[in-house]
């Protein structure tokens, strides 16, 4: 058993951590200002879109509007974390960066708001504080397209659609906390995007209801394919900044970085607590740079879906992911895609490569071969599972990861030796 490492580093307070996280939306705001053509029109378009997978906000509303949307969502969540006086742990870092990433791919202020209201009502009904459920609610916004779909896809008359969409969002926010807590048992904590799995189940239910009343969800594929050089530069600056910050907090974090590889990554591997903030930030920054380089090498374009993938990987690098448990999974996906003759530069394939690291704990717990196998299964499943929920679950890879882990873990456990 690997417990907490004794690390000597500069103490970082709650407020300072909030400022560090705020660097992301501040940078996005600045970037939006640099790309301010039709900024408000783009933002309006983003908010009134059905946002079904895959609706890339960079293509839909323009680069400036997409970054402004992400900045607004970032500031809103930072406000809540500050208001509730939350201790910023690995879980909240992961939740915040996942929110930020998916603000380029489906989330906007209109479609996340009802989920927060539902979460607040759940907290009231249970006589607990909203801060107790805020992490789950932040993640639950992966189901936000169902709200936009009902509100804006012309399935219902305007007022009815808006009321119904809002009500469905509140209902999901109200029920998702106990469902998410229950779902972790299915994959035994080996699928890091547990809400993705939960949202997949809930999304399947709602998609089935819509289909049952003859309201078909039309597939969407709006993907940005233009120049991404300025976005790459922005990401590199942010991720290098994280590494420099990590080295400032713990000057020895470069030498001590290997400590992080001792952790399997299974839920809940809270790196800031276990190895300190210095090593955690170095890990997040390094994983971020690695993902940007990987996308470039594969010939992909950094667009909304890829930004969502990258920020999710970086966020979860504070909660279990590192090179040792991620690379075998990614290799499994890439090898399978290659064998099946897929184009590795395609956005959906790159998304699968990056998001497949949701099952990184399988490689961490059972070794690289099991990790590779998990990657193979992940690609096969993720390419087919979107049709089940009709794209209303943004965390499609988390849904797939839950199934992969739920199938593999009992089998791998059965062949483990010992008591």
């Amino acid at each position: 058993m690997v417990l907490r490492k004794k690390i000597v580093e500069k103490e970082i307070h709650k407020k300072q951590l909030l400022w560090i996280l705020s660097a992301f939306p501040i940078a996005f705001l600045f970037f939006a200002f640099l790309n301010r053509d039709a900024l408000l029109d783009g933002l309006w378009t983003i908010h009134l879109s059905p946002t079904i997978l895959i609706t890339d906000f960079l293509a839909l509303g323009g680069i400036g509007a997409a970054f402004l949307n992400a900045a607004l969502i970032g500031f809103m969540n930072l406000f809540l974390l500050n208001r509730f006086k939350m201790k910023i742990n690995g879980l909240l870092i992961a939740a915040f960066l996942t929110m930020l990433g998916f603000a380029f791919l489906g989330k906007n202020l209109i479609n996340i708001f009802p989920l927060y209201i539902g979460g607040w009502l759940y907290a009231k009904s249970q006589k607990i504080h909203m801060r107790d459920v805020i992490a789950v609610i932040m993640f639950s916004t992966g189901l936000s397209p169902i709200i936009s779909q009902i509100m804006f896809a012309d399935l219902f008359p305007t007022v009815l659609g808006f009321t119904l969409g809002f009500s469905v969002g509140v209902l999901i926010g109200f029920t998702i906390t106990p469902i998410a807590a229950h779902m972790v048992k299915f994959h035994d904590g080996h699928n890091l995007y547990n809400i993705g799995f939960t949202a997949g189940i809930i999304g399947t239910l709602f998609a089935s209801i819509l289909r049952a009343i003859d309201k078909e969800i039309e597939p969407v594929s709006i993907i940005y394919t233009d120049s991404d050089l300025s976005i790459k530069i922005l990401l590199m600056v942010l991720f290098l900044g994280l590494i420099v910050l990590g080295l400032y907090i713990n000057p020895k974090s470069y030498k001590q970085y290997g400590y992080i590889f001792k952790y399997k990554g299974r839920m809940v591997t809270d790196f800031p607590f276990l190895v300190g903030h210095g090593i955690t930030f170095v890990n997040m920054g390094s994983m971020g740079i690695f993902t940007v380089l990987l996308v470039t090498i594969l010939g992909g374009v950094i667009n909304g879906p890829i930004l969502a993938s990258i920020f999710t990987v970086v966020g979860f690098s504070a909660l279990g992911k590192h090179f040792k448990n991620c690379i075998p999974i990614m290799l499994g996906v890439m090898a399978t895609a290659f064998v099946l003759g897929m184009d590795l530069s395609q956005t959906t394939v790159i998304m699968a490569i990056l998001f497949s690291t949701t099952v990184a704990p399988i490689a961490g717990s059972y070794g690289p071969v099991a990790g590779f196998l998990a990657g193979v299964l992940h690609l096969v499943i993720v390419m087919n599972i979107g049709m089940v929920h009709g794209g209303i679950n943004l965390y499609n890879n988390g849904f797939s990861g839950g199934l992969v882990a739920g199938i593999l873990i009992p089998v791998l456990d059965a062949f483990k030796k010992g008591d």
Binding site: L3, R4, L91, V133, V184, D188
Partner: protein, 114 residues
């Protein structure tokens, strides 16, 4: 339903698994529920853990209560016999003391009712 009793049982389950699997063949547990708190007392007889390990245990439990982690992950506690969810246990308790005495390890965990 807040599952308060189940959460306490899961903490006990997790620690039973850990101690029997990694350390000893004899463990005593005592759970005392009071009006505003629950105290879990554990005696791990003839422990092989060193003073340094005991300090590490202490550090793991001394995280401060984090309700958001508890609400999301409490059902993982006591689920696996492969990994110990000590970090989650740390977020589910308010006070902890771990001591080594006469070759035994004594753990006392306190969880307040909110």
């Amino acid at each position: 339903m807040r599952h308060e009793v189940k959460k306490i049982c899961r903490i006990v389950d997790e620690l039973t698994t850990l101690l029997l699997k990694e350390d000893t063949n004899e463990v005593d547990f005592k759970i005392k529920r009071e009006k505003d708190r629950t105290v879990i007392s554990i005696v791990d007889y003839r422990t092989t853990y060193t003073a340094e390990d005991v300090q590490e245990f202490s550090a793991c439990f001394d995280v401060q209560r984090q309700h958001e982690v508890e609400e999301y992950y409490w059902q993982l506690v006591g689920e696996s016999d492969g990994d110990a969810e000590l970090t989650v246990i740390g977020t589910m308790i308010d006070e902890a003391s771990v001591t080594l005495k006469d070759g035994n390890m004594y753990i006392e965990l306190v969880r307040y009712r909110e």
